[in-house]
């Protein structure tokens, strides 16, 4: 009994530790400017005078709290983030799934998997500076497709390795059974394999979307103004009059957490169903 209590306490402690920054951010998002820092007196955890002004500020560019308006609202970066993260995820999941399936089934050299990892062996900056030079040369700096493409490329190894593990686990007899029954190999893949690995594709896509959505470095290097994404925009949230706009940043941080959560909930059915692959004897 004491064991259970101690364990619960320990879990609660670590949960609180993990949730502290998030709850701080959530509380900050509803604080008026005067409460952002201790400059105004005491610093409290909960807002003394809750307000939606921070949200109004990032969406409209104006707030009763602030004397100076924002020259850019969040709408454009939000659109840029959604477009590039979703496109990049589609590229990585489609190409990664196709590649993983081919390597898993066709006895192709598995070295392809290692060569895909090249991008991940080096520190991100060592890779991204040359990419920036190439992208600049190709005229792809500050384009949504330039950013989406590199998102697809850098997350491809994840989707390849995750999907390869799933395909390796799925016995090829399942497809062979469909082909023996008269399907073409492609029909077998579409009608049998893909529905069975749908949950794996969904969880892979979610994982990659979160990676792309939260990227800062790549967007910082490859965008200028038109297609800056939310993390880059958030960093730039400061005015000469007020300095760092902590409340606005917190409001934006809270908003940025919404898409992954919505996505996670909408594919929850696939995630929780678990990976019950192929009814096998084992």
């Amino acid at each position: 009994m004491t064991g259970l209590i101690l364990r619960t306490l320990a879990v609660a402690f670590f949960a609180a530790l993990a949730l502290l920054p998030i709850s701080w951010m959530a509380s900050m998002a509803f604080k008026p400017a005067a409460e952002w820092t201790s400059a105004a007196g005491t610093l409290t955890f909960l807002p003394k005078d809750p307000t939606l002004n921070n949200f109004r500020y990032v969406f409209t560019g104006n707030s009763p709290d602030q004397m100076v308006g924002l020259d850019r609202t969040v709408w454009r970066p939000l659109y840029a983030s959604l477009l590039t993260a979703i496109s990049g995820t589609l590229i990585a999941v489609i190409c990664g799934t196709a590649a993983a399936y081919a390597v898993s089934r066709q006895r192709i050299h598995e070295s392809i998997g290692l060569s895909l990892l090249q991008l991940r062996i080096f520190p991100p900056l060592a890779v991204m500076i040359p990419v920036m030079i190439m992208w600049s040369f190709l005229g792809m700096i500050d384009t949504w497709w330039g950013l989406a493409l590199i998102y697809g490329i850098v997350t491809l190894p994840f989707s390849y390795w995750l999907m390869k593990a799933y395909f390796d686990e799925l016995p090829r007899e399942i497809e062979e059974a469909a082909i023996v029954e008269g399907c073409t190999p492609f029909e077998a893949f579409r009608q049998i394999t893909l529905p069975i690995v749908a949950s794996a594709v969904a969880s892979t896509a979610l994982f990659i979307f979160i990676l792309n959505w939260s990227d800062y470095l790549i967007a910082l290097l490859l965008t200028r103004k038109e297609w800056t994404t939310i993390p880059v925009y958030m960093n730039a949230l400061a005015t000469a009059a007020s300095g760092q706009l902590y409340g606005a940043k917190a409001a934006l941080g809270l908003l940025a957490a919404v898409p992954p959560i919505i996505l996670g909930i909408s594919i929850q059915r696939f995630l929780v169903r678990g990976l019950t692959f192929g009814a096998l004897k084992q």
């Binding site: 399942i174 062979e176 059974a177 023996v180 399907c183 069975i196 192929g278 009814a279």
Partner: protein, 370 residues
């Protein structure tokens, strides 16, 4: 209806030879078991017949037509996989209907045949259940039903019963036999279980080390094994294979067990002729444990041996004997009273015994019908 012929069929994976120069002529509507230890190439042989693996050399014919390069989707064989390969995202009904739907049958016809097959396989009560919810026994029935429903003229089964409990396995054995008769199919059945093979098959192909050892009826496989591998593989306990020296004394031929004159077995006319024709000084003498008799008095041609170990196996008693130099096993009715340490006089039924060449392992024979 179809016959299946393999002519010089081989399969290599890199340097590894999985099947070597296989020649097999399976008749229309025949039930053939491919039997052998794990890794002997029996599943690869099956996969080549289905077209899952392409062949490295040789030919495969269905009804005389060369299908060596026909892709598996067009061979039209039924295949039941060892791990069942059930489409887990589909219901039982959808699994059963799969082959018919791919072939573009009318919906009414599909419904009728799915209903019939579910009835035969006793899956009617689970027809709309998701296939993941089935028990192992039900998965097995579903796997067989899904392949059988399109009534393939050639039906291949890869160790389909190896995961079932023994009572259900017996049931499935007779169901399979019934299915094969009613559809008049050519059925090829891979197994490592000799009891299954002996009980089910019209003929058995015994394989070892990528090579076909013998292809014959269960009766001949048991009583006239082609070589020492088949002799040792079939039967439980397996055939005694004892090194003997062949000697002629006083006009009679003797086989001296382990080269000892004191443990000589006088050969009968058939074995004596075989031994003489081979001209070899040393041979392997094979006799089944079932073909030993015990007496308490030394008799004509009996061996003096000591009982080492007695095992009770079901209604039988397996007795391990030693002559001092070599040992062998006898299988008797459990009524026989033998205890470890006792001396016994053992005589061997020579009409059912064989001599093998120790070099090649082949059984000695004089004529075709020997």
């Amino acid at each position: 209806m179809a016959s299946v012929t393999l002519e010089g069929t081989s399969k290599k994976f890199g340097d590894f030879i999985a099947v070597r120069n296989m020649n097999l002529a399976i008749k229309d509507a025949e039930f053939v078991a491919i039997l052998g230890p794990s890794g002997c190439g029996k599943s690869t042989t099956m996969n080549m017949i289905a077209g899952i693996e392409d062949v490295s050399a040789g030919t495969i014919r269905f009804d005389g037509t060369d299908v060596t390069n026909v892709p598996m989707k067009k061979r039209g064989v039924g295949f039941v996989f060892q791990n069942y390969a059930i489409f887990t995202h589909l219901s039982v009904r959808k699994n059963l209907a799969f082959g018919l739907e791919v072939r573009g049958e009318e919906q009414a016809e599909i419904d009728r045949r799915v209903g019939e097959m579910a009835e035969f396989m006793e899956l009617s009560h689970r027809i709309d259940a998701p296939s993941v919810s089935l028990s192992v026994n039900e998965l097995q029935k579903l796997a067989i039903g899904r392949s059988a429903i399109v009534e393939p003229s050639i039906f291949l089964l890869d160790e389909p019963l190896s995961n079932l409990d023994s009572a259900f396995r017996e049931r499935m054995r007779s169901d399979l036999r019934q299915l094969q008769r009613s559809l008049n199919q050519t059925m090829i059945y891979v197994t490592h279980d000799q009891i299954e093979a002996m009980g089910l098959a019209d003929r058995i192909a015994v394989m070892d080390h990528a090579t076909l050892q013998q292809f014959d009826t269960p009766e001949n496989i048991y009583s006239r094994p082609e070589n020492t591998f088949v002799a040792g593989f079939i039967g439980a306990p397996s055939m005694n294979l004892v090194r003997v020296r062949i000697a002629e004394r006083g006009g009679a031929m003797f086989a001296d067990l382990a080269g000892r004159e004191a443990d000589a077995v006088a050969l009968d006319e058939r074995l004596a002729r075989q031994a003489r024709a081979s001209g070899a000084a040393a041979l392997t003498f094979g006799f089944r444990p079932e073909h030993l008799r015990i007496s308490d008095q030394p008799g004509n041609g009996s061996l003096a041996a000591q009982v080492v170990l007695v095992e009770l196996v079901g209604r039988r008693k397996h007795v391990h004997f030693s002559t001092g130099q070599t040992g062998f096993v006898g299988s008797f009715d459990r009524g026989v009273s033998l205890r470890p340490g006792e001396a016994a006089h053992v005589s061997i039924d020579l009409r059912k015994s064989h001599l093998f060449d120790p070099e090649t392992g082949l059984r000695l024979r004089l004529g075709e019908e020997d």
